[in-house]
């Protein structure tokens, strides 16, 4: 790799079901000269998130779909290497939609921000706790869930990046927290390391029955990261005035057919429940509220997280499906290039 070559993963075809490596194509392009106002960012860390899968479909969601033949969209952290923009001088560390590529040329428009200087926070954390993941967990739980001490909080995909933070914030707020995950190893991480009150292995246990046993008075707050049967089991176990935060429906992102909705939907009426969807981008302007709490909790050891960092941009497509087969352990990140020694 010479400095004026940029490796880029283009979206070659719309995936059907799980993505295949052949849905993407790597090309090498020559990095053009910068125009006035532009700056060149070297990608250091690239975030892989379930929501990326939705961006590959030919429908507008909360963002337009990625065009066929375009660089696949992705959030990254990088360093400015050349700059014709005084707001983003050389050596600035920035975050934004850098894409699945080695380099990104920005003119500062769209989502592009300098990373705040937080002492003792490692760079990948800005794709995790101090990024979209943390904001999603924080505002979903706090703003919609409104956790009260003594309430029962249930989280699906609880060992995932968002879910594990939701549960820990719930514990900080005094909730009884039950997590749902797909391996015994993840379940014991939740109960032993993160101090969840209980965990359900949805692959070996009946989620509905276990929820009923573990939540005899019903679920007060349900944080839905996945749809399908697990969501349905939760809707069937709600307490009066329950809040259901619909953050994501991971289990449905790769669906090729229409997915039936939850058959326990009528329980929303009986339990006077509130089901609320949200997208984290709506909360960007309130970012500092969350980060202030996170710094306190992180420094005092109250918030833990795991990350799985895979080296090499070339491994991006084949790594992506780990988000959906349950094999990733913690926040999935591609290390595209070395961190600067600043």
């Amino acid at each position: 790799m010479t400095v004026n070559i940029n490796r880029q993963w283009l979206l070659k075809s719309r995936p059907i079901g799980l993505t295949k490596e052949t849905d993407f194509q790597m090309v090498e392009t020559i990095i053009p000269e910068l125009r006035k106002g532009e700056f060149l960012i070297r990608n250091i860390y690239l975030s892989l998130d379930p929501t990326n899968r939705g961006w590959m479909n030919p429908v507008k969601t909360y963002v337009p779909p990625v065009k066929i033949g375009s660089v696949m969209r992705g959030i990254g952290v990088g360093i400015v290497e050349k700059s014709e923009n005084p707001k983003f001088p050389v050596e600035s560390i920035v975050t934004g939609l850098l894409g699945w590529q080695d380099y990104f040329i920005s003119d500062g428009s769209g989502w592009m921000s300098a990373i705040p200087s937080l002492p003792n926070v490692p760079l990948p954390a800005f794709l995790n706790l101090f990024g979209m993941i943390g904001l999603t967990a924080y505002f979903g739980l706090m703003d919609i869930g409104k956790p009260q001490s003594g309430e029962t909080l249930v989280v699906s995909a609880a060992a995932g990046a968002v879910g594990s933070l939701v549960g820990q914030i719930g514990k900080i707020k005094g909730c009884r927290v039950i997590g749902i995950a797909g391996t015994d190893e993840k379940c014991s991480w939740l109960t032993q390391d993160l101090r969840f009150d209980a965990a359900i292995n949805y692959k070996t246990e009946s989620v509905f029955t276990r929820m009923k046993e573990l939540c005899p008075e019903g679920i007060d707050i349900y944080f839905a990261n996945v749809g399908g049967k697990i969501l349905d089991a939760a809707l069937g176990n709600l307490n009066l005035n329950a809040r259901v935060i619909v953050c994501g429906l991971i289990s449905q992102y790769n669906a090729t057919d229409t997915v039936p909705g939850p058959s326990n939907f009528p329980n929303i009426v009986l339990k006077r429940a509130t089901v609320k969807g949200f997208i984290v981008t709506d909360y960007f302007k309130r970012m500092n509220e969350a980060f202030k709490d996170f710094q306190t909790w992180y420094v005092s050891g109250k918030l833990q997280y795991r990350e799985e960092i895979v080296k090499g941009l070339e491994n991006t497509p084949k790594t992506f499906n780990k988000l959906f087969d349950g094999s990733n352990r913690g926040k999935l990140i591609i290390k595209v290039s070395e961190e600067p020694i600043l």
Copy 2:
């Protein structure tokens, strides 16, 4: 019928699907002497409501199921004919769960209230606008829907007792109102008499496509009286920050199998929608707020309603299914006995 005989419709068996007359049995019992604190109410009007169907199932909903062999539960308006209770003297007009029978003996416990004296309000209106129906429409729309002038409100079962009031209150609040009903006659009643902006006949039109045409910017408020495909079409046509009031799911009340939930459920996330279930009994303590507005609007002719009054307690079971086959026009009421000339 002599005065000391009480005809009672007992629930004989749990209906499967639509109720059959043979699910009920009429018995004649002798009215016992009153004990201290009791009073005898002659039933005048008996309300038939979709929610009654749920009470016949063997599952606790927001009230316990009606026991096999018990008098079928129902809301009525009646007059006190004998009294050993100073709070409810003879000739009081009362409302409460009088049941499917000629007479009810109450000790004043449970839901039993004297009807407020509202000039020019006919008695059946206390089972309609000035009863559960009106309160359901009012608090569902106002408290959960929070209608703003210029917003688009869509109502299902719009020619029904609740739906027709919801639409009219929406118009009063400045909304564009679209109703969904099952006959052309009902649709023209909505647009011509009630001044809805448009109506969709779900039996002859594609609800999803028509909603898309009529709500190019999406639905801001959806008042769900029915589930199934119509709810799904609405969830597929939401505007950003939509509110979905789940009042009832009439189309599912007779279901014998598990009913799949709405497949457009993921749209709740994309549209940051709020889906909220509610039960009108939670709002009883705020009744007077609604009745104050209703009196103003009713007297000034801004609220119209239709009622279909069927004579004779003996006709109750056979009349009940009109709520589900779409053949009733307006609030369905059984006239059990004559109104007093006071």
